[in-house]
């Protein structure tokens, strides 16, 4: 910890015009949540095309604008795809309505078919101070002997977590998955099986209140050990709440 602090101080003072008025350490609480889901594997198929095939299979559609009206999609798109699907022989126009060809049926079946994958569980980290999920591995964080006090703006009470919208979680999960080239197929998360709040992790942060005398400028640097970076969110939060106070307290002397 001290070594880190030393390194950071050096780095901060690289700007010769800056002096450190005050430095402190504290912890930000980060909630870890285990999310369980079952991803599925399916053929890559553009959804509008899939939807059109589905529609032709189930409903009686005689022209593009009828389909456009049904799907609330602009006719130009529908026309484009109609031409495409007709050309590739997936659909054909019957006496009155469009219908799928044999090839089209197979294609649709393949597109709709989802191969269920192993159930997976993933841990997500949520910081109430940041009001965001943090992308980092909590396990890879350095161990510290003594944890400093809690951040002065962190709530002591654990958050009433897990009120997240499912889509938001899926998006976070999907983004956090390393996408490997799966060729014609893709693995997608369609829904969450369960989510479970685990422990609250205290993430140490190092705060330096800085002063640029030349410009009469007060600012702050906060190193987030979990993210291994200067945390702009927390910096902004502190400046907004305290900069006027710093001027009064730290520069009066």
């Amino acid at each position: 910890m001290q070594a880190l602090e030393k390194r950071l101080k050096r780095e901060v003072l690289q700007n010769g015009k800056v002096e450190i008025l005050k430095s402190s350490n504290w912890c930000v609480p980060v909630q870890s949540i285990d999310v369980t889901y079952q991803p599925v594997k399916r053929l890559k198929m553009d959804i509008l095309m899939k939807m059109m095939l589905l529609t032709f299979q189930q409903a009686e559609i005689s022209n593009a604008s009828e389909l456009g009206e049904l799907l609330l999609v602009e006719d130009l798109f529908i026309q484009d795809l109609l031409i495409n699907l007709t050309k590739t022989g997936l659909i054909e126009r019957g006496e009155k309505y469009y219908h799928l060809t044999f090839k089209g049926k197979i294609q649709l079946e393949n597109g709709v078919f989802e191969e269920e994958q192993e159930i997976e569980t993933q841990q997500l980290l949520y910081s109430a101070c940041h009001e965001a999920f943090l992308t980092a591995e909590i396990d890879q964080m350095d161990e510290y002997d003594e944890l400093p006090d809690l951040f002065r703006y962190a709530s002591e009470e654990p958050e009433e977590t897990l009120k997240f919208v499912e889509e938001e979680l899926i998006e976070v999960l999907q983004n956090s998955r390393t996408s490997e080239d799966e060729g014609e197929e893709q693995t997608v998360i369609t829904d969450i099986i369960s989510k479970e709040a685990r422990q609250i992790n205290d993430v140490p942060c190092l705060e330096f209140i800085l002063y640029n005398r030349e410009q009469d400028l007060l600012f702050v640097r906060v190193w987030n050990t979990l993210l291994s970076q200067w945390d702009d969110k927390l910096e902004k939060l502190l400046v907004e709440k305290e900069v006027v106070m710093w001027r009064e307290e730290l520069l009066k002397v």
Binding site: D46, L54, T55, L70, V73, E74, T190, L217
Partner: protein, 1271 residues
Amino acid sequence: MFMGQVVAKIETVRTNLIMTNKAREGILAWSKDEHAFFHIQKSFLVHIERMSNSAQGETAITIYFDNVANANLAEKLDSQVAVMNCIVKYEGLLATNFRVISSRVPVRTNRRFATQLEFVTAPKNTVGLPIELHSKIRQLPIAEERSEYVRKRISSWEGYLKIQERDATIEDMTASFSKLSVNEDFSRMTLNCSGLKDNEWNKAKGLSAKFKGSRDELGEVLKVNRANRTVEIELRPYIREQLRKNQLKPKTKEVVFSNFATLSQIRRLRRGFADLEKGLAANANLEKILFEDRPRIQAPKKRAKLEFHNRLNEFQQEAVIGAMSAEDLFVIQGPPGTGKTTVISEICQQNAKAGLRTLVASQSNLAVDNALSRLLSNKDIRILRFGRTESIEEEGKKFIEENVAEYWREQTLQDIKQELTMHDSQETELTATLATCEEELQKLEDQLVVIKEKIVEQQQAKLDYEVITEEIQKLKKMLGTYRRELRDLEEHFGEVANKYEHVLSKVEELERFLETNETSEKLLERTNRLANEIEKTRNQLLFRQAEEELAAVNEELNNSRNEYMTWQKNILELHQLQHELKNFTKVDELSEFMQQYDIPMGFIIERQINALEKIKNQMVSYHDWMSVNNKLKAAIDYVEKQMGHAAQIILQQINARPEDSYSSYSIREVHEAIDYMKQFLITQRVVNPAQLKPHLERLYLRRKFVWEQGTILQQLKQEAVRLFEMIKREVIKQTTEVLANAQQKKSTLTNKGMLLKDKQAQLQKRYDQLKLSLSDGPISSNSEQLTAMLHKSEEELQHVKSTHQVVLRTIPQLDQMQQQHQKLMEERTTIASDLEEKKLAIQEINSQGLKQEKDLKALEEILDQDYEDQQLQAEYSIKKLTEKITKLQHNKAQLPIKQALQKQWYTLLQEANEHDLDEIRKMYVRHANVIGTTCVASARKEFMDNYPTFDVVIIDEVSKATPPELLLPMLKGKKIILVGDHHQLPPLVGDDTLEETLKAIIEESDALEESAELKKLLKESLFERLFKNLPRDNKQMLAIQYRMHEDIMKTITPFYENEDDQLQCGLIDSDNVRDHFLEGHYVKRDDHLLWLDMPNEKPYFEEQMKNGKSRFNQGELDTIRHMLLDLDHATEMAKAAGKIKQDERKSIGVISFYGEQVKKIDRLIQQELNLQHLHLRTGTVDKFQGMEMDVIIVSMVRNTQHKGGDIGFANDYRRLNVALSRARELLILVGSTEMFTQRAKQKHARDMYSQLLETVKEQKGLRDQDGNVKQ
């Protein structure tokens, strides 16, 4: 122009082609001969360009073969461009050269004419050159001339590029750096550099920096401090990120500066010039629009009729209609807050509806994003934002290519969601509709039955109709006859009546006449009475006449007697006097005598008397001569006595002189000679004779003359006596004659007396007779009166007689007339009764006819109905309705399926991941119809390739872009719409306006020519010129603003005073909708416009940075600090009072004319103030153009007492206009009124600020620096 037409419809034209050897040679490189070559395709799409005429005056053209459309040719030539030079001849085209050039050369330009040509190469064929092709070629402009024209005109724009090129270095610069430090929020990096050459330091500013060996650009050089050897770089977001993570590790300690961005920008601008020159503008008219003083614009063919998607005011509607109707160009002037973005949005929507693709371009990314974000979300509009992601604002980000699919997904989801909410009602609705349709169908079928019945009825009616028509025909014929008869009768009646009237009037006239006159008897009696009277008067008259005659004769007789008596007396006297005549001595006595007795003078006497008179006259001087002679005699005597003998000698001498030797003398001269001598004698006391000699001589000479005169006079006297005697004798002779005549007169007089006596006797007799015949008493009147009486009576008699005659004639006439009258009256009555009868008959026929016609009409109505058509229609409607019902039934059947599908679609779309949307994205991009980008980015290659032209190009904030920047998007538009406001700021170069930069360059520049060229640019504002010179149909000012409280608007209305329309406030109740709810120390609820007047004294003076030109003002900063705290507090209070929502923040912009002041304000806000209730934004006035805030504080900075002090940037009215027009609710000016209204150097500036001060005062908005009310 012609391009538009040709592109729309290309017809194939056949023409003969004749090859020269040279051209054939060119062909042979690609084919065995020309016949083979020109037969690889039936026809070719070619682009014909007209060249300057050949030396022989023949029309020369160049044919460019399209290297895409001509598939076979493209394959053969590997997509290169075939070019053929030709001469236009009547027998066909004569090819003079053929070559193949690079595929990069554009074939389609606006100076070429595209057509499908079929070349006939067989020499025997005589197709010739079609006349239409010939005339098309003749209409083409000569391409080289157009290029030359553009080249010349556009050279005047070079200056703009020069400004940009000013500091541009082509070479990259490398420097090593020792230290790297980052500012508080990792947005800027400062490098301590070494190794830059002296001249390189200044050039580094604005360049892009990166570490040597690294691919990632760090950012742009913001500031260079040569003294400290530091370079400050504004970092890109990616680099900031890296720095935060401590991951930015330069491989070497070297930094490279390059100005690739600037250079590529200049390159693009230059390419714009070249493209215009080559005729690559989508609109061929563009070059004229840009360069003609009064561009000729195609008038709109007709005004578009539009339905609007946005709520637009009249000006906005006009602008949209104008823009949609315009052919080439439309210009919109949009003062602050007048809703130009709404107009742009509406135009985009209208274009989308019309299937047109629109480019929305602007000088700044912000303006592009602003315009795009206001477009209504509508599935007909597919917006695409093109540009570098990092420079695109939040509002525009959803439209960038990588986000459009997501945007589309959201829009579509929203639409489906709404649709889903209606699912439940859809079935009921559908069922209801179905029921209504079926009901309607039943109705229609019922109608059909009725119609069919009607058709039967109609057939019967047709028969009836014919019968009645015939009937009516008959009646009409009868009616005709009757009418004719009636007409005759009427005519006859008229005649009789006329006659009757005539006779009647005559009778009346006669009767009246008889009434007014006496009867025949009375008249006769009167005649007789008058005759008697006349007789009596006549007699009286005769008597009177006789009486008078008698008196006259008596008198005459008397006269005659007297005459005789007188005569007798005269004769007696004459006898006596005749004897005395001899004694008469004087002529006068003779004359008197002759006169008295009437003795005629006679010719002889008269002559003799005249002669005598003559002599008498000559004799007048006789006595004078006698006296002078006496006097002379005395004188001579005296002298002779004195001289004695000597006198004798002198006398002899004198007498001896010849007769004519002496002269004549007047009496006076003789007297004088005597007097002279006398005088001599008196003066000379002693006289000797010798002295007297001349005197005596003189006297002798005179005496001689006097004596001669005396002789003459004696002779005359004798003659006179002789004459007198002769006269006397003559008179006596005459007298004797007179006496002899008198004897004769005696008998005449006696005879006359006898005659008169006889007459008297006769008259007396007659008189006596008449006297006796007069029986009545004495006569009172004289003869004249009697004559008059007689005349009167005779006239009366005459009149009475003639009247009597007339009366006698009239009586039988009257009788006759009365008879006639009676007859006519009877006739009239007869005819009248005939007439009445006829009329009744006609009436009868008419009423019969009317009845028939009414029947007929009823039938007609039946017949008029096109029941067959109705039947057809009904049948058609039934068919349609049946179809509709079938469809509805189908829909009803399909409804659950479709609803299920929609639900499925909703889920699918919700779950859609990146990959799913990829196809959508491609499709979206392919069909995007509103594309937004900056002017300069519109010329990027990637963009040019994807979107070579647009149907419509809208350029926003035109006044902020330079003409070369504007040219880039303009080149792409078939129609161009410019939106701007030349009363706001012109283009910016760095922190300065273009004009300020130009002035700086001109000052620096040594070359006169260059500075003259640059000065020209200062005058030219493309937008202003176009707006002023375009016809009304092609421009519109938006004159209603919705941003500012009316009080704030008043500060800028003067800037628009000279426009056609005055700036108006569109807010219906400014106080209500622009209520700021603030009540503090400085600001009261009613205030909307304040000026805090800074004293023109220390410590309120401006200050200048040591090493920069920018200025700041500490006094104003202090005031602003208090002001902001006050506003924050006032907002808090307003929240507490529930006037402002708890989570809301008052948006406040603090702006200044000076960058340094802005920086200080920034620091103040960030470091020293904790304003919880305000949302603050700061910036220079220039940067704030296009933005709006609830409250604006303007820090005016300039304030000094220096003689040379002025207001710098604040002189520009456009900058002031922008500064004043940013605020919605409250505008606060902080600055010295004295400085701006009195000390400013330029009069126009003083006037401008004085007017502003007046406006502030009118609203009682002037305060001192502490916010106290000032008068």
